[in-house]
Symmetry: C2
Subunit: 204 residues, 2 copies
DNA sequence: GTCTATAATTAGATAGAC
DNA sequence: GTCTATCTAATTATAGAC
């Protein structure tokens, strides 16, 4: 057995591991401080690496941001698939309810998604347009087609942003919520309560 | 008539006018780019003033941020009062419904509130604690006491963040919403539709 | 592949002219 | 009260040693 034996790590493997560490750190940094507020030095520090290494693996701060966005949306897709696979539903409505719960659970586990979305969605920019074209449109399309009978189609954009906001905010501002209400949004039962609450509102 | 005649502006008046212009620009800047991402030079430019002038009127970037936060919460209080004053309601429930509508209208007109809140609420910081103590606790307290019969008091923190998120997000990310859905959240009828939708969800 | 060193720009805060 | 000039520190991106 050569350099690719179990226990050793090939160069390609280490490269990928380092890139992953940096992308993970970038996701945290960008979500925490926004694109402008986050510094590449801080991201490098979080990743346990050097600032110069970021430019080597990713060409620019902008490209690193795109990699971080790709990562969080990839996690979203994977999480929704895993939470829903194998489940059977008598009605589309029941499926939609479980989809909402799954989304809320993801928002709780990965508040970075909402933070990133608000930070970029509030300004017109190349990053915003890239986000819409590459990640939001497929999701929004699925939101349209994933239900059969809808009372009023003109309400769908409203329902989309209501779900995103109602399902995510409490987790996105968790430190504030703890301070203000005493409730810890990270607690398992709090997450489930919130998921049921939001699902019950949108699909009573 | 002397220096305080109508038509002329006293020194105190000009001072106040300049401060207001700077605070307004700061509110926009901080909401748009976050505390770290916003630069005092950019804020000065928006206010049509010089960077040095910001340090003269406010001692630091931090103090300027507090003035901007005071402003947006002052506007919120004023708007809610004005929208609700003189109205009579048969039941508390009816009043609560109109309070929700009024809040959504404010969120539409001043998306800076939500942007600021998310930007600060996601991290533990002195600014976050100041925000909770000086502005959020009174609001949250009113949210608790403003209704009589509540099905389950343990759901109130959830309802609070659901209302804030559901009522504000579509306006906070208006540029993204336009691009993604074609809907303009700033349009009058869209605001009213959203207000009715959110009020109907929380108080069916 | 990872690091150090550094160039060019921009940041917040201060000092002083007017 | 408002501006210009400047200090110190931090920013992104690049060049080159190992």
């Amino acid at each position: 057995m050569g350099a690719t034996t179990e226990g050793t790590t090939s160069r390609a493997e280490q490269r990928e591991a380092t890139r992953e560490r940096i992308v993970e750190a970038a996701l945290e940094g960008f979500a925490e401080r926004g694109f402008r507020g986050a510094s590449t030095r801080d991201i490098a520090r979080r990743a346990g690496a050097n600032q110069g290494l970021l430019t080597y693996h990713f060409k620019s701060k902008d490209a690193l941001w795109r990699a971080a966005a790709d990562r969080i949306f990839g996690l979203l897709r994977k999480s929704l698939e895993e939470q829903l696979e194998g489940l059977e539903f008598a009605e589309v409505r029941d499926r939609n309810r479980e989809e909402i719960r799954a989304f809320v659970r993801f928002a709780a586990e990965h508040p970075e998604l909402f933070r990133l979305m608000v930070d970029e969605g509030k300004n017109s920019s190349e990053r915003m347009e890239w986000l819409v074209e590459n990640h939001l449109e497929p999701i929004y399309e699925g939101f349209w087609q994933g239900r059969d009978a809808v009372p009023d189609e003109s309400l769908l954009p409203h329902a989309y942003y209501v779900l995103a906001g109602a399902g995510s905010l409490i987790f996105a501002v968790a430190p504030e919520c703890r301070r203000l209400t005493g409730l810890d949004p990270a607690a398992r039962e709090v997450v489930e309560t919130h998921a049921d609450f939001v699902a019950g509102l949108l699909l009573p």
